[in-house]
């Protein structure tokens, strides 16, 4: 068998893998990316793709701020002919209890200290700006008008397309079956079609599929899949409805730039699996919950529903770290807010792989925090 080589191998063609491939290829690195299906076929392309700067820790906020600096010009930068549909119609976290509103106020104070233009709004202000929202039970909200939406599929595909243009090899429909290590060092990968590739550095960014792959070289990742559901409606005339996240039952909705509405709602009973499947229970539950907040949509038709896996960790924050196997870097475990971190996640992985200092201190994202019981608590997670 012929063994092929690269400077860096990336396993997983979601937004983080594709963004890292793009940044490495642009820097002149010989990089090969392996994706088991098409780019974005896992969690990335199935994401609700909200872009937000509403976090409650400095580490996440610095990265979120960087993402929002990149998105406005990214379509131009990647220049692939694909429309990224970036819009800034805002993102609102709606509180139903005093305790919840107090936490939102703390988050907003931290955001303001980092020059993020978030505000706390009372019900009169919400009603004046979005009179079609039903405010029953709401006591206030946190809102950031710079936040918004991007098309998660064209985002991931565009990163991959631009990476190829800079010379990256992006191998789709090419699953990796195992990683190879020797004397404590990473060595390469074996693919399902029997190819063997070697590289001194490997990035594992395969979402929930990272766990079984890391195990093939003895690395244990506390990352597990959890199914989440979304639906999309027929398009209606755009009226700038922001992303609205209801902190009572976790329902959320937003208008996409083509006029369609997206509805989602978290459900504790969903199975911990990467298998995608659909249920009437979700369709009926989410429409009831969302129509209570935005009754004007009651006559709009639901067109499609789909599901996809989060890659959860015990503290619902990502792992970005070198593993005990020398040369093996992981970036996974984003627990449902990873799509929007494609720009910053790709940047820090490129920096780590090239031996540069990452632009954000990544200490909170380290792998050893779980065994040290020093979890990365983030008050603004959904």
């Amino acid at each position: 068998m012929t063994i092929k080589t690269a400077d860096v191998i990336i396993v997983g063609g979601g937004v983080h893998g594709a963004s890292t491939a793009y940044q490495l290829a642009k820097a002149g690195i010989n990089v090969v990316l392996f994706e088991k299906e098409y780019l974005g076929s896992g969690g990335s392309g199935r994401s609700a793709a909200g872009l937000r700067q509403h976090f409650g820790t400095e580490t996440n906020l610095l990265m979120a701020k960087y993402n929002l600096q990149v998105f406005p010009t990214l379509e131009q930068e990647l220049d692939t002919g694909m429309d990224l549909e970036f819009t800034q119609w805002g993102y609102m976290w709606v509180a139903y209890t005093e305790e919840c509103l107090d936490q939102l106020k703390k988050n907003v104070a931290l955001q303001k200290s980092l020059d993020i233009p978030s505000v706390i709004m009372d019900t009169d202000e919400i009603n004046a700006r979005w009179p079609y929202l039903c405010l029953d039970g709401i006591i206030g909200a946190a809102f950031c008008g710079e936040d918004g939406h991007i098309n998660p599929q064209t985002l991931t595909l565009s990163y991959g397309h631009a990476a190829r243009r800079y010379g990256a090899v992006v191998k789709t429909y090419c699953p990796v079956t195992k990683l190879l290590a020797e004397n404590g060092r990473i060595k390469g990968v074996v693919t399902e079609n029997g190819e063997e590739w070697h590289a001194p550095k490997i990035l594992l960014s395969a979402g929930p599929w990272s766990t079984p792959l890391a195990a093939t070289v003895g690395v244990e990742l506390p990352v597990y899949p959890e199914r989440h559901n979304l639906l999309i409606t027929e398009p209606v005339e755009p009226f700038d409805c922001p992303m609205v996240l209801c902190l009572d039952d976790g329902a959320y909705f937003k208008q996409c730039p083509n006029g369609t509405f997206m509805f989602g709602r978290d459900d504790q009973d969903e199975p911990h699996t990467t298998e995608t499947a659909n249920s009437a229970k979700f369709l009926e539950g989410v429409t009831k919950s969302v129509l209570k907040r935005i009754p004007v949509l009651s006559g709009v038709r639901v067109v499609r529903q789909w599901s996809g896996p989060y890659d959860n960790t015990p503290d619902h924050n990502a792992i970005i770290d070198w593993t005990p196997v020398e040369g093996l870097l992981v970036n996974c475990g984003w627990s449902g807010h990873g799509l929007q971190f494609g720009p910053s996640g790709g940047r820090v992985c490129k920096e780590l792989l090239m031996g540069e200092d990452p632009f954000v201190d990544l200490h909170r994202f380290r792998l050893s925090r779980f065994e040290e019981n020093d979890l990365f608590f983030e008050p603004a997670f959904i």
Binding site: E37, Y38, L39, G40, S41, G45, M82, Q153, T154, L157, H161, T172, Y173, I232, T233, E234, N278, A280, L283, E284, G285, T287, K288, V290, L291, L297, S298, G299, V300, R301, V302, V303, R304, Q305, W306
Partner: protein
């Protein structure tokens, strides 16, 4: 409105030339074309365009249509008013 000649996806107004162009750029599966161009994502979910696109993919790749992955048709299959779904919910208040 721009003039479009050979629209094969009426939901998203995609022309056959756009399909051929993206196939020639290396995106030779229905799933990838769907995600670049939204073909199959509209209210008809590909009833109009799927067969035409699969034929184009077959011509370009040399694989018989029976061997091509046709993408997924998602529930509720036909568009339903949100209100009717909400009224059906059995969950306790």
């Amino acid at each position: 409105m721009t003039e479009k000649a050979n629209i094969i996806c009426r939901c998203e107004e995609i022309e056959i030339d756009e399909i051929r162009e993206w196939i020639s750029r290396g995106y030779d599966t229905f799933d990838e074309l769907k995600r670049e161009l939204r073909v199959g994502m509209g209210p008809c979910q590909g009833r109009g365009c799927r067969d035409i696109i699969l034929r184009e993919l077959s011509k370009a790749t040399g694989k018989p249509i029976a061997e091509l992955l046709p993408g997924v048709i998602r529930p509720p299959v036909k568009p339903i008013k949100a209100r009717l779904l909400a009224e059906n919910d059995q969950e306790a208040e």
